[in-house]
Amino acid sequence: MNAADVVAIPYTWVLALSAALFAIGTLGVLLRRNAIAIFLSLEIMLNSANLAFAAFAFRFATGHATAAAAIDGQVFIFFVIAVAAAEAAIGLALFIALYRHKETIDVDRFNILRW
């Protein structure tokens, strides 16, 4: 759809959404024990960050700053997604290795190293 003829919603709403998602993600990381679940929550956090970028980029695009600034934000999102992919690859590989070794990916079970 063409964005030209729409009245934009306040960027702060988007920001609020990202805040909520970020909180949810954090909650997940801190409260789940299964590595994959944790990692999913991490993805949520990254995405919320993306939303934040988007929100600000949206704001700057609407005349509060240069267009370049607005673009920067979106570029950042682009890269975050790429990084997320990379992290996913590594993380999942790591989980597999862990699972091979210990038959579980419950992070609470990995505490040989402590004190």
């Binding site: 679940a37 929100a55 597999i96």
Partner: protein, 167 residues
């Protein structure tokens, strides 16, 4: 109208984010995440970032989460721990912290509320692929080249960790 779309997407995103975090069957988690990502791309679209909306769907839902599914299948993890099970103290403080962080950002948002977003001038079609592509190949050329290293490194590492021992 836009407003409603946004609100709906937002509600959807939050809802399924919660599901992704709470659900105890990994498959559910992943699928919930997929929905959430779709919602997000909707949001992107609403604020006129078509390109992002696109890659959000393609890369995330299309690639990353599939990867997740594969892994889950591979390790056939069925039921996993309940949210906050185990260490109750960790859960308690964790909840507080998460809430705190969220609240903090929300408060900031509150502070920012006064100045509202204005009409998005059609001329500045910021979100389309063209300007982003330009930026990627000019201002952010280095990052653009650099990300390849990142991905290669990730592949190398993943391969190493994933492969069975050669000798």
């Amino acid at each position: 109208m836009v407003t409603w779309v946004f609100l709906a997407a937002a509600a959807l995103a939050i809802l399924f984010a919660v599901v992704a975090v709470v659900a105890r069957n990994p498959i559910t988690n992943v699928l919930a995440l997929v929905v959430m990502f779709f919602a997000m791309s909707a949001v992107f679209a609403v604020i006129g970032m078509d390109f992002l909306a696109a890659i959000q769907v393609i890369v995330y839902s299309g690639a990353i989460l599939v990867l997740f599914l594969f892994v889950i299948m591979l390790l056939n993890v069925r039921r996993i721990d309940r949210l906050g099970s185990g260490r109750s103290f960790q859960a308690f403080i964790g909840t507080l912290v998460a809430a705190g962080i969220g609240a903090m950002v929300l408060v900031i948002v509150g502070l920012l509320l006064p100045e509202q977003g204005a009409v998005l001038p059609g001329a500045a079609a910021a979100g389309t692929a063209l300007p982003i592509g330009r930026a990627l190949l000019s201002t952010h050329l280095f990052a653009f080249e650099f990300i390849t290293l990142l991905l290669v490194a990730a592949i190398v590492g993943a391969v190493y960790l994933g492969k069975k021992d050669l000798r």
